[in-house]
């Protein structure tokens, strides 16, 4: 088998501050063309600072080498398969980046006259329409800056709709397999969270929802496919149960990639959902952001959309509308992460209807292929066909003393980012693998072979697995020490 990675040079690099030398600069101002002023005299001596001792003094070369060296310490999608479950680490097309950097987008101002931002407003409306078509929802707001903010907006709209109906419902139902943001978003809106147990087959059953469904329930928040990679096949019946008692159904769109072009949440009875453009629509994850989390709704919730709403008038012009008395208000200082919207729109235009479906299908094909390749070597807690991701556990390795954490760290030695581990919480020792559509057959085989090799190694030489990673610049880092005695900024050594 061809190896995925071998050893190379790892550069050392200190912190910026440790490189600093008095008198170095990496920046020059243009010649001054206006009179000099005395800031202290103008603003008052005590309003002005004397110095910026916290900032380093470096040349441009210092800075470029510093960060370029640091970049080599990162795993990235552009280096190798990055199988983080529920994160959809698909390839981020380069054209997206080029388009986002066009000055007409990158140097546009959110408060400029909307009549002079027609290109951006048109892009936003067309992206909204595209997301509606993909999801089967009636309206989309692009304002939320991330999935969690989209969720917050969605839950707020749900609350606003109930209040507009004169109802004060207090409870939100969340399945036990849900992402942590779901209960957190509900709690931020003052809702009590009630957990709904998944069935033995890993999915929600109508009876379980029926059992906790009351007139106090504002909404059920469901992820579909769920975090086990399973399609919630009873979603139709579940939506009916919730609707019958006046509740709404919220869909966490984190796993929408599996459904692209195949099925639509809006057709299943979902009332509100959010999208993660940084997952499904290929905008880069950027080391933890920026994301973009548009929220989609059915028409009944339209009076409660965040403001401003972008509208297309009959004459084909676009405007920002803040006149929406039932609105939940504003969520973002401007119009959301517009640069991410440009990237997602570029992706949607590149793919088209056929390309979108192809992504969904190949993502599911890849996940099932890995499931089949690995099922003799890793425990499969929920058997059967999966959607975009598959969950394994370390149960088969129990007698070796090797845990999921160890397998994850050993994968690093082979040049792979580990899968999502210990999530969902309902599977002890979970390894959650989402290959995405970006990976080729031979790439998947190489990855599967590596995981099988590690399972074998766990039996032959468990200590090597338990003490992984061995080939990274750092060995396993001590998280306990970091949390017990937090060091959250660099301080100059008092001795020097």
């Amino acid at each position: 088998m061809t190896r995925n990675a071998s050893t190379g040079i790892a550069y050392e690099e200190d912190l910026l501050f440790e490189h600093s030398r008095p008198g170095r600069v990496g920046f020059a101002l243009p010649a001054r063309d206006v009179p000099e002023v005395d800031a202290g005299a103008l603003l008052g001596a005590d309003a002005v600072r004397d110095d910026l001792p916290g900032l380093p003094e470096l040349s441009e070369v210092d800075v470029v080498r510093h960060f370029t060296r640091m970049s080599t310490w990162n795993a990235a999608v552009d280096l190798a398969l990055y199988p983080l479950g529920s994160c959809t680490m698909k390839y981020n097309p380069k054209i997206n980046e080029r388009m986002a950097r066009l000055p007409g987008f990158a140097a546009a101002h959110p408060l400029a006259d909307p009549a002079r931002c027609q290109g951006l407003l048109e892009l936003m409306v067309r992206l909204e329409e595209g997301l509606c078509e993909v999801s089967g929802m009636d309206h989309v707001s692009l304002q939320p800056a991330a999935g969690a903010q989209g969720e917050l907006a969605g839950v707020m709209m749900i609350r606003a709709l109930h209040e507009a109906r004169g109802e004060r419902r207090r409870v939100v139902l969340v399945p036990d397999s849900a992402h942590g943001t779901n209960p957190a978003s509900a709690a931020l809106n003052g809702f009590d969270v009630v957990s709904v147990p998944s069935g033995d087959d890993g999915i929600l059953h109508p009876e379980a929802v029926e059992a906790v469904m009351t007139d106090e329930v504002a909404a059920l928040m469901v992820t579909n496919p769920n975090t086990l990679g399973l399609f919630e096949r009873h979603i139709g019946a579940i939506c009916e149960i919730v609707h019958a008692r006046g509740g709404l159904v919220y869909l966490d769109g984190a796993n929408l990639n599996a459904l692209l072009g195949v099925a639509r949440p809006g057709d299943m009875g979902v009332d509100v959902m959010h999208f993660n453009l940084h997952k499904t629509f290929s905008t880069p994850h950027g080391g933890g952001g920026p994301g973009s989390g548009p929220v989609g709704i059915k028409a009944a919730l339209a009076p409660h959309l965040p403001v401003p709403v972008v509208r297309r008038d009959d004459d084909g012009s676009y405007r920002l509308d803040s006149d929406l008395p039932g609105s939940i208000g504003r969520l973002h200082g401007s119009h959301g992460n517009a640069g991410m919207l440009v990237r997602a729109f570029t992706y949607l235009r590149s793919l088209g209807a056929e390309g979108i479906r192809r992504c969904g299908e190949m993502a599911v094909l890849n996940a099932n292929y890995l499931r089949v390749r690995l099922s003799d070597h890793y425990h499969v807690p929920y058997d059967g066909m999966v959607m975009h991701e598959c969950v394994f556990s370390d149960k088969h390795l129990a007698d070796t003393g090797v845990t999921t954490m160890d397998v994850a760290k050993r994968l690093i030695d082979h040049g792979y980012h580990p899968p999502t581990i210990y999530f969902p919480l309902i599977v002890p020792g979970a390894l959650m693998i989402e290959p995405t559509e970006s990976e080729s057959l031979e790439g998947l085989d190489r990855f599967a072979d590596t995981l099988i090799e590690i399972a074998q190694e766990a039996r032959d030489d468990p200590e090597t697995v338990r003490s992984a990673p061995h080939r990274t610049r750092h060995r396993r880092l001590d998280e306990t020490r970091a949390a017990r005695k937090p060091v959250l900024r660099w301080q100059p050594d008092p001795a020097s």
Binding site: Y422, E479, T480, A483, R484
Partner: protein, 132 residues
């Protein structure tokens, strides 16, 4: 089943706290089972001295790197003392949960609540029933 130490002279709650009675004062901490389950303890949040708690009410929070758990008052009463050393050395909960790792001292509102708690044997059974 792993090995746990549950001293005979203490009483235990079902939420994994132990209590030690010395006259008016009842010292409270978490059990060996709790500290092993949580793993490396990194932070313990304790109440202010003088606050009163009802039995079963959360009086603090205990955190490891990956988990966080409420501390529930095993009995009702007023907080007389807290363990100041835990702020700097939360690891003493792992190292010596029945000694240096104690958390608070309460003056009980109702002394019969202590005798209603589990003894070491009953608590060990309670732990076993959960780990099967």
């Amino acid at each position: 089943m792993a090995n746990y130490d549950f001293p005979q002279d203490l009483r235990y709650s079902r939420e994994d706290e132990w209590v030690r009675t010395e006259g008016e004062r009842v010292t409270i901490g978490v059990t060996d089972y709790a500290q092993q389950q949580l793993g490396d303890i990194v932070f313990v949040e304790l109440p202010e001295v003088g606050r009163t708690f009802e039995k079963g009410e959360p009086f603090g929070v205990i955190e490891s790197v990956k988990a966080v758990s409420d501390l529930f008052a095993p009995i009702s009463g007023e907080v007389k003392e807290i363990n100041p050393a835990l702020a700097e050395a939360p690891e003493s909960v792992n190292e010596d949960c029945y000694g240096e790792g104690w958390m608070i001292v309460i003056v009980p509102a109702d002394s019969t609540e202590v005798s209603a708690l589990l003894d070491a044997g009953a608590y060990a059974q309670h732990v076993e029933s959960r780990t099967d």
